[in-house]
């Protein structure tokens, strides 16, 4: 249908034309319009407390204490159950968050501006590995780290980044793809490249050498520091492609630990949801699949722009880490995702595939026609609140999201069976 082809050409053009630049780190309450007290943004499509999974509840209890809206975790749970908090998806506020994806007014957020289209996207700072709130952690150690991010690292990053005048992120990702990153389960190259740019500016804008040392140490030891930056890039790139009449391209994929949701450009901001699947992967010592929570997080926004599992050919080491077979099979994942996408991104080329760009622009028609659903590289959270990460793996988007979206898309165009 010519109308669809034209609309998809425009949607893909917008996805590829974006120029994401890291411009600031500021408290979420200052950056995100409408985010106020007792207001909690979470990962995935909309969900109420009664249907939330263990890690998401754990994070909410923790963030309520962190923000001073609850006296302790138990009080946080009671208040959540009583309806004291307003829950909404990050995506509705130009934001994204990994795993549980907590975004509240007091947390510092990365600000990425898409300079081609003028829109901005937001994401909290990555907390590092181990027991962290994004995996449902909520004890004193987790809350103390969040306080340090709020009081020290966030402001330090904000000062440094503002002095740079903005850090273009596409070139960093392009280089990371040649260094073994796929920007979802492997960010070690991009984290290092970003730190290389940030370090002198952090030093120039710091008045406390010990605080500076701790900031550098924290970023330097966190191989996943860039994940949240890449997610913010994904959100900044996809938002301009929303709402194009006649486009069947996906503009968001995300999960809340209960439901998987997608949005499609030509169907506005409607969520098409289905029960989220369990990742298949490898577990840390002492844990098994019995401990795992179904998949969660807004991080699938990186797959939506062609990174993560879509760029697996660039990151063969990831295949083994997530238990997805031999490293030599990495290219198979990328080629497979190429069958459901509208094009390739020439700015993010994969050397292993002779410079072919990452597959970009998931077309719901191709997903339904081929039966190939998007793959997503992911971390695995413990199913109980407060426990944290137990493994990493790969998960498939549920086909039901795409068949529902296809029917709604067809109905919007007046095409009926």
């Amino acid at each position: 249908m010519e109308k669809i082809e034209k609309a998809n050409t425009e949607a893909l053009r917008r996805l590829l034309a974006g120029d994401p630049v890291l411009v600031d780190v500021v408290p979420a309450g200052e950056a995100i319009e409408g985010l106020g007290k007792h207001h909690i943004l979470h990962a995935g499509p909309p969900i109420g407390w009664e249907r939330m999974c263990g890690p998401l509840r754990g994070a909410i209890m923790g963030i309520a204490v962190f923000e001073g809206w609850a006296n302790d975790l138990k009080d946080g749970a009671a208040k959540a159950e009583a309806g004291a908090f307003r829950f909404e998806p990050n995506h509705d506020y130009g934001a994204v968050g990994p795993m549980t994806g907590m975004t509240t007014q007091g947390q510092p957020v990365l600000v990425v501006e898409n300079r081609t289209f003028g829109n901005r996207a937001y994401c909290a700072i990555n907390e590092g590995l181990g027991k962290v709130m994004r995996f449902g952690g909520n004890d004193a150690e987790v809350l103390a780290r969040l306080a340090w991010l709020r009081d020290t690292l966030g402001p330090a990053l904000g000062r440094a980044i503002r002095e740079t005048g903005g850090i273009p992120l596409k070139p960093i990702i392009a280089r990371g793809l040649t260094m073994g990153d796929e920007m979802h389960q492997r960010n070690v190259a991009c984290s290092s490249l970003l730190l290389r740019i940030l370090a002198p500016w952090l030093a120039r804008t710091s008045k406390d050498s010990e605080a500076l040392a701790r900031c550098l140490d924290f970023i330097g030891k966190n191989d996943q520091f860039f994940l949240n930056v890449a997610m913010t890039v994904g959100k900044a790139l996809t938002d301009p492609a929303r709402g194009i009449e006649g486009s069947s391209l996906v503009t968001a994929m995300c999960r809340n630990g209960t439901d998987f949701g997608i949005r499609v450009s030509g169907v506005g901001d409607t969520w098409f949801t289905a029960p989220v699947e369990m990742p298949v992967g490898l577990y840390f010592p002492g844990y098994t699949a019995n401990d795992a929570n179904p998949d969660m997080g807004d991080s699938a926004i990186v797959e939506t722009v062609g990174l993560g599992a879509f760029a697996m050919a660039a990151a063969p080491a990831v295949v083994g880490f997530i238990g997805a077979g031999p490293a030599s099979g990495a290219a198979r994942f990328t080629r497979s995702m190429g069958e459901i996408t509208a094009g390739n991104n020439p700015e993010w080329a994969i050397a292993m595939l002779d410079g072919l760009g990452v597959p970009t622009g998931i077309d719901i028609r191709l997903v339904v026609e081929t039966g190939i659903v998007p793959n997503i590289n992911t971390g695995i959270a413990h199913r109980r609140p407060g426990m944290g990460q137990v493994g990493a793996g790969i998960v498939k988007a549920p086909m039901l999201c795409f068949t529902q979206a296809l029917e709604a898309f067809a109905a919007k165009l007046g095409v009926v069976y």
């Binding site: 669809i4 191709l366 026609e369 067809a410």
Partner: protein, 66 residues
């Protein structure tokens, strides 16, 4: 040999079983894997009916130009 067994140039076709097999497998990948495990040269072509054989979705897809 009957006339219909001859090729258009009148030559007798080579026997299929008298030379190493080279197989193109369409659809179920397991068949290709089994052949490959027995040393047969095989090229697999991934194919499935559109929309997994769901006639309603396949009809929608055809109307949507896919």
């Amino acid at each position: 040999m009957a006339d219909e067994d001859k090729t258009t140039d009148g030559k007798k076709p080579a026997s299929l079983l008298g030379q190493p097999l080279r197989v193109i497998n369409v659809g179920l990948e397991r068949f290709a894997e089994d052949l490959a495990a027995h040393g047969t040269t095989v090229q697999h072509v991934r194919w499935a009916p559109p929309a997994g054989g769901d006639a309603r979705l396949a009809d929608l897809l055809s109307k949507l130009g896919s």
